[in-house]
């Protein structure tokens, strides 16, 4: 009897104590479907391991999250923490609403050197770090092995440089009548971020070193755009057409994202290959990257900011990231995850197509973290289209784009 009472009293006391120190955190994100389920599973486990912390995760559809964050910041009704697509990070870090993480990172001994350099660029503003990368994606080459075979090419050998890319594309067009390669010609960010891969590969920079002026109209940039224009205009191995030719088997090669390693196999009826994207002789391996960053808001009191950081620190840890990346198909943001034996084994067995994308993280480059990037991107894409349609020479197109971009960087 006595033991029963004692047990009850102890349980009550523990319950009351944990009520007193209960930390309620809110977390806004846009991960839906399978990704949302993986996140929910991790949050539930975290709550089990950390009694007294409850994390309410709020799903906001992708396109609305930034608008909702804007409203929340204006109304000073921000959640404890949130994620954002990295393109929106410059706006957020400059808003003054985010909490610097440097002290937390120091106290927790989080090793930033373990992170790939590309994703880390976005959280920095005026020497302070406001966010950490929690997921990544990048671009690579997919090719249609059936069309390679039909054209008399080795189906297991992707092009390794631009010369081979062009030679293979010509041979495919000549032997099968299909397009050699599909380019994203519809404008906007889709055109810009693919074109940047060609530019970086050729040794061109998009903006100058401190992001205060355009740099894409360099001789290297002109060379890269000339290569793309030639594919369309002179060689006629790539069309200006709506996106989707590769998936329908009408084009033999395409630059597309790591996420397509999950979708293409369900969508296409041919044998797929994937490889890092080729670059010109004398150039550099390069790819573009996307992904999400996580951050804490200013208005949290010290205790809940600390509680939010503890969750972020746990979520960023190598074992949790391995599980997260395996569950979602996102690419690792940390080298220790990319080199983790269990992760590598999972990629080789379950997702062999993802291997080149994981390897490309080492040279994945960030788009310039400037607040007006979306405008700059649209202007650049518009002039790339002008060149692809043969209305302007590559040099003229890039010079005009630079002229329009310059005032936006002041």
């Amino acid at each position: 009897m006595q033991a029963h009472w004692l047990k009850a009293i102890v349980t009550m006391t523990v319950a009351l104590l944990s009520l007193g120190t209960a930390q309620k955190l809110t977390f806004w994100h846009y991960w839906d479907g399978a990704n949302g389920q993986v996140l929910q599973g991790l949050i539930e486990r975290y709550q089990k391991e950390h009694p007294g912390v409850t994390i309410e995760s709020v799903f906001v559809p992708g396109g609305e999250l930034l608008t909702k964050l804007q409203t929340a910041i204006t109304a000073k009704q921000t959640p404890s923490m949130a994620i954002s697509d990295l393109v929106a990070m410059p706006l957020l870090t400059q808003s003054g609403a985010l909490s610097p993480l440097d002290d937390f990172i120091r106290q927790s001994n989080l090793n930033l050197a373990d992170y790939f350099p590309g994703p880390l660029v976005y959280g920095l503003y005026q020497g302070k770090r406001y966010s950490l990368p929690v997921s990544a994606s990048n671009l690579g080459l997919f090719w249609n092995k059936n069309l390679f075979r039909a054209a008399g090419l080795d189906p297991n050998r992707p092009p390794r440089n631009w010369d081979e890319l062009l030679r293979f594309a010509r041979q495919i067009k000549a032997k099968t009548g299909k397009w050699g390669i599909e380019l994203f010609t519809q404008g906007g960010e889709g055109t810009t971020w693919q074109t940047q891969v060609y530019f970086w590969g050729a040794g061109a920079e998009f903006l100058n070193a401190n992001n205060t002026a355009p740099a894409f109209n360099s001789p290297q940039g002109v060379r890269a755009l000339q290569f793309l224009v030639d594919l369309v205009q002179k060689e006629k191995v790539a069309p200006v057409a709506p996106w989707g030719l590769f998936g329908r088997g009408e084009a033999a090669m395409v630059m597309d994202g790591s996420w397509m390693t999950q979708f293409f196999p369900q969508q296409v009826n041919f044998e797929l290959g994937a490889a890092p994207f080729p670059y010109p002789a004398g150039g550099h391996p390069a790819t573009n990257m996307g992904g999400e960053q996580i951050f804490i808001f200013q208005n949290a009191d010290a205790a809940s900011a600390k509680a939010a950081w503890d969750f972020i620190n746990w979520f960023s840890s190598t074992p949790v990231q391995v599980e997260w990346d395996r569950g979602t198909g996102f690419l690792p943001v940390r080298r220790s995850v990319a080199n983790d034996p269990a992760y590598r084994a999972w990629v080789s067995n379950a997702r062999p197509l993802m291997r080149p994308f994981v390897d490309s993280m080492a040279f994945a480059r960030p788009r310039p973290p400037v607040a007006r990037y979306p405008q700059i991107s649209d202007i650049f894409a518009k002039y790339v289209q002008e060149a692809l349609l043969g209305r302007l020479s590559p040099k003229e197109a890039l010079d005009r784009a630079a002229q329009e971009v310059t005032p936006l960087l002041r």
Binding site: I73, T185, Q186, G187, G188, A241, P242, A371, R372
Partner: protein, 307 residues
């Protein structure tokens, strides 16, 4: 008060009522509407006007007062003038084509025939189909190689353009969808108006030996004028605000050839976070639509509708 002889001693309420008229009661009954409209229409509209005098990205803690700089930047922007041109082309194209087609089909459907109701339903379906869904489907129809449109043209030996990827054709393709969505509405309104024309007019004209074309030209067309006017104005106002169709089909491209004002505004506000500048765009659009409405009121003498 001279000469007003009241039958009864006035009660308190009616004396009070005489000084204030029916205002208190009217205000009381208007209150819910005023509250809702004020909160959700007038207040945001006025905030937007205020915001158009600032430079603000929606996130920065400070708003920079720039006066009318957003408006002068707007008027100096080539993209804005391009958008205005595209909007006028779209609005003019959709309005005229949908009007002609709507009237033509209405006249044909006005004859008593079997299946008339079915035709009406068929023509009206696009009007109630969600724009986004229509846009997506038409995007497939306009695909240069796989699309129904170009396959149909190939069937008669013509090579269709790359429609939505070709700056010279993309706007035409969007106008086609705009017309397809508008015709049914015009048709139903015209049918109602046609039923209102007395048969006797036509009988008299036939006795005088007028043929079908002359009947249409001298009876139908003039008597439909007020309806036509109403449809022109509503179609213009509607077309001026087009956004969703462009968003789904072309995202304003290629090369800004379908960058209507609605989409231009959306880009400034939600892609570029230029909230002050976007508010200025919104007010310029408001001024344009307001002008169209005023002209309509003048021409119809306050909506009396005698064209």
């Amino acid at each position: 008060m001279n000469g007003v002889r009241l039958q009864k001693t006035p009660s308190k309420a009616s004396r009070w009522g005489r000084t204030l008229g029916e205002w208190p009661a009217a205000l009381f009954f208007l209150l819910p509407t005023v509250a809702v409209l004020g909160t959700f229409n007038f207040y945001p509209a006025l905030s937007s006007l205020y915001l158009s005098l600032f430079e603000w990205n929606g996130l920065s803690p400070t708003r920079e007062f720039v006066g009318l700089a957003n408006y002068s930047r707007l008027l100096a922007s080539g993209e804005f003038w391009n958008s205005l041109r595209v909007t006028l082309l779209y609005a003019g194209g959709v309005t005229l084509l949908a009007l002609a087609l709507g009237m033509g089909v209405a006249v044909l459907l006005n004859q008593p025939s079997r299946g008339q109701a079915l035709y009406r339903v068929l023509y009206f379906l696009p009007v109630i189909t969600p724009t986004v869904a229509s846009g997506v489907v038409w995007k497939y129809l306009f695909d240069p190689t796989q699309g129904v449109v170009n396959r149909g043209l190939a069937g008669v030996g013509l090579q269709g353009p790359a429609w939505l990827s070709d700056p010279s054709w993309a706007l035409a393709a969007v106008i086609v969808v705009g017309v397809w969505k508008r015709v049914g509405f015009n048709l139903v309104v015209y049918l109602a108006a046609l039923q209102g024309i007395p048969r006797a007019y036509y009988e008299a004209a036939q006795l005088d030996g007028a043929g079908p074309w002359q009947q249409f030209r001298h009876i139908t067309l003039p008597l439909l004028a007020p309806t036509t006017f109403f449809l022109v104005v509503t179609a213009l106002i509607d077309a001026f605000q087009v956004f969703d169709l462009v968003y789904v089909m072309t995202s304003g491209g290629p090369l800004g050839s379908t960058d209507v004002l609605g989409y231009y505004l959306y880009r400034q506000a939600f892609r570029y976070s230029e909230l002050g500048f976007a508010s200025a765009v919104a007010y310029v659009m408001f001024a344009l639509i307001f002008a169209v409405t005023v002209i309509q009121f003048r021409l119809t003498r306050g909506g009396q509708g005698d064209g």
